[in-house]
């Protein structure tokens, strides 16, 4: 078969990496004492399908490694071995090795053969050391009736694309052969005349008779890799199987035939392996989902963005021509506006993913780190279903990793220290995500020692970050740890202490248009809260006019807009202007002064837009309010650079560019001017 298999590599890698993630998650959930059979099965399935796939594609190293792993897993699945800490560690290590191998193969780089061989050897060693006497709960194994040998009738009807997806029936039969005595009969009835034969399609079907001590789940596993590419029917004989009618609901497989394994909860379906069944097996999240390249979605987003611009151009045109326009056209324009908006929202939702995509890497990381540092850490994850835009999601991973590492390394104490302080030996680390207004808040908190203000100040003095005489508020002190090159770890470990860290976190978060807050109580723990916008692509904006320019103020930061009345402004100390708002005095920022553009009104009258940014309020003095509209944010950074007071730009209905204001930046800037 000379079919080019490389075209399927991408899918194989993607699926394998995903499968490894689920394998890792299952391993972390595995209790040492009483392992959950379903979890072990999940792990086994992953190893098995990676083995099958890599054998098909000729990645022999991976196939050989996964084979050893599979053998060990099979022992565990059959409860012939107990899951010990050592095995659990070994399995996690194997996940890493498989990941490394897949990455190396994907990048067409040489494998670290030595490491692979070492880990594989360790696995084989564990298998070899397996206790010869079976564990107590396997004692009932001999009770299995031996008289009637179970027979399985398997019918395999490949679909035409069977070969094209890299399936090899020979390999499957070899696998089945390992499960018992196998008889294979090929059905040649569908074979076309030689002239019409398409060598890349599969015209054959097979009926197989397998007799041996095997269960349906393990037979099904042989066909795992070919899911959706063939119809498989499995019928048992001499097996007290449940009726096919019970197939709809997952239920334990028939009572153990020969292996005393905890019954795997495979649905005992004797119908064809359909797509939906495949999903029922592999997890709940995938219900009716398809895999789409990110570029395609981005392209869609861009096109929809352009469509929105065209639509608002038409709407604008319709408004100016209102009298002369026939009513039907008006209605059509209104309809168009509604549809375009809905389309835009739908496309936006496509990009939204639950934050669990990021959170899921932490259980493993926390476990490894805690083990290495000799600490006990309990990780609590809540709000992992909170959805946010993919671009934001991709960028918060690293900051969160930094914060989690920081908490474990600096925050949480060693068990003996904790006990001495009257706290439980195991520290708790909490990851929490929730929606807060138009933002998402991600929280990393621990119940460790908290921040040591004295040590921070001492360190800052030593590094000349602050003068020897400076006295700081707690907030200012905590702020110091975000300074570049700052670390109070006594020793530089490979975990943290090299001073690369929190400043990067802060910068990353700021780049995303978010903010980070830190609160701490000595002896009780520390809490970092990252606030991020839900999406970076769209903002609801209010257009304001200043002189000839118009700017967009994000609607979310506007509290109120009001007409400036004569005498409502007063000065404080002859400099800063304030005005009374809801019983408060709010500083006034004249936008034309900050931006250095001529104002049409010379500040005598105008509109005060009361805004909030970074927790501070200010009154933005502008000439006029224009319309409200949803705008697509375009980056200024891409071709230009960051501009103080401007968070981005957008294209208006007439094709011109308007700047989007960055209110925290403007407020800071105005304050700096007032203090100057």
């Amino acid at each position: 078969m000379t079919l080019d298999l490389t075209q399927f590599h991408g899918v194989f890698f993607e699926e394998s990496f995903e499968a490894l993630d689920s394998m890792e998650a299952a391993l972390l959930k595995l209790d040492l004492g009483a392992p959950d059979a379903e979890l072990i099965n999940t792990v086994f399935r992953v190893a098995h399908s990676i083995k099958g796939g890599s054998a098909t594609f000729g990645f022999t190293e991976i196939a050989s490694f996964t084979h050893s792993l599979e053998t060990l897993l099979d022992e565990l699945r059959g409860a012939r071995m107990q899951v010990t800490q050592e095995i659990s560690n070994q399995l996690l290590k194997s996940v890493d090795v498989m990941r490394e191998m897949l990455r190396a193969v994907q990048a067409k780089q040489p494998l670290d053969v030595q490491r692979v061989a070492d880990v594989q050897f360790e696995i084989e060693l564990i298998i070899a050391r397996k206790p010869q006497t079976p564990p107590a709960d396997a004692a009932f194994a001999p009770a299995v009736p031996k008289a009637a040998v179970p027979r399985w009738h398997i019918s395999l009807k490949p679909f035409p694309q069977f070969f094209a997806h890299g399936n090899d029936p020979l390999r499957m039969f070899e696998e089945l052969g390992k499960l018992g005595t196998l008889e294979v009969k090929a059905d040649l009835s569908a074979l076309p005349a030689f002239a019409d034969l398409d060598p890349q399609s599969c015209h054959l079907a097979w009926t197989l008779e397998l007799s041996g001590t095997s269960d349906e789940a393990s037979i099904r596993q042989v066909f795992d890799w070919a899911e959706g590419d063939c119809a498989v029917e499995i019928r048992g004989e001499n097996i007290p199987a449940p009726t096919p009618a019970a197939a709809a609901a997952p239920q334990p497989a028939p009572a153990p035939i020969a292996t005393p394994a905890p019954a795997p909860a495979e649905p005992a379906v004797s119908a064809a392996l359909t797509q939906s069944e495949a999903q029922a097996v592999s997890g709940v999240n995938e219900a009716g989902s398809i895999r789409v390249a990110v570029e395609k979605i981005d392209e869609l987003m861009n096109t929809v963005g352009e469509l929105v611009i065209t639509q608002s151009m038409l709407t604008e045109l319709g408004r100016t021509l209102e009298e002369t326009l026939p009513e039907t056209l008006q209605l059509g324009l209104a309809e168009l506006e509604r549809n375009v908006r809905e389309l835009q929202e739908s496309v936006m939702r496509v990009r939204m993913l639950p934050i669990s995509f990021v959170f899921s890497r932490f259980p493993r990381m926390v476990r490894d780190l805690a083990q290495r540092l000799g600490k006990q850490v309990e990780l609590l994850i809540t709000g992992e279903t909170t959805e946010l835009d993919k671009t934001v999601l991709e960028k918060i991973g690293d900051p969160l990793v930094h914060l989690v590492r920081n908490s474990i390394d600096h925050g949480l104490e060693k068990p003996e220290v904790r006990r001495a302080a009257g706290k439980p030996a195991s520290g708790s680390l909490r990851l929490h995500a929730c929606h807060r207004g138009g933002n998402i808040a991600v929280e990393v908190s621990d119940d460790g020692a908290g921040l040591n203000a004295e040590r921070i100040v001492a360190k800052a003095r030593a590094r000349n970050l602050i003068g020897p005489q400076d006295t700081l508020t707690p907030e200012q002190t905590y702020d110091l740890i975000f300074a570049p090159g700052f670390s109070t770890a006594e020793q530089t470990t490979d975990v943290s202490g090299r001073g690369v860290g929190l400043d990067v976190v802060k910068r990353n978060v700021k780049e995303l248009g978010g903010s980070i807050e830190l609160s701490s109580e000595p002896g009780r723990g520390a809490r970092f809260v990252i606030t991020l916008p839900l999406t970076l692509a769209i903002v609801d904006g209010q257009s304001v006019a200043v002189g000839r320019e118009s700017y967009i103020v994000p609607l979310i930061s506007i509290i109120e807009s009001l007409q400036l009345r004569q005498g409502s402004l007063s000065r404080v100390a002859g400099r800063g202007e304030v005005f009374a708002f809801r019983g408060d005095y709010v500083p006034v920022i004249r936008l034309h002064e900050v931006f250095g553009v001529p104002s049409a009104r010379e500040g005598a009258d105008g509109i005060i837009v009361v805004v909030e940014g970074d927790g501070r309020r200010a009154g933005l003095l502008v000439d006029d309010l224009l319309g409200q509209q949803q705008v697509v944010i375009k980056s200024l950074d891409m071709n230009f650079g960051r501009v103080d007071g401007v968070s981005g730009a957008t294209i208006l209905g007439d094709g011109s560019v308007a700047l989007i204001l960055d209110l925290p930046g403007i407020i800071r800037r105005a304050n700096a001017r007032a203090n100057a």
Partner: protein, 162 residues
Amino acid sequence: MSEAAHELKPGVEQFLTFALGGEEYGVNILRVQGIQGWDRCTAIPNTPPYVLGVINLRGAIVPIVDLRRRFGLPAAEFGPTTVVIVVKVARQRQERTLGLVVDAVSEVCNVQPEDCKPPPDFGASVETGFVQGLVTVNERMVILLDIDKLVSEGLLGALPGA
């Protein structure tokens, strides 16, 4: 223009030349994305005066730089021949698009590498870092610009956050 039609010899580079305050400049034609008429652009606050603002170029936000002001030439009224040359520049391994306002575009000329003379050393009084070389075309001197350097050595280098 006549030479442009000929098959190019290896090593020969083509430059788009343009007029700027009585001087003649050239940029490598492979960097030119397009030429368009001057239109009003949106000013960006607190940027150097030679940054005129940004425009919408097929959905992308592209900054516009007045090369006259950048080179310290006397400002001129924008007239009917005033055009924006849209170029791609590489900066810190990142590609950026940029519009340069010039008095008028002239022609495309072929430059042999050996004809390209290094700029004379003016000491510190004249910035020459972004000059790739000088060539004579039709008995006129053309200053060939290295636009990547132009960007990294001060054009956008002076901009905030850059």
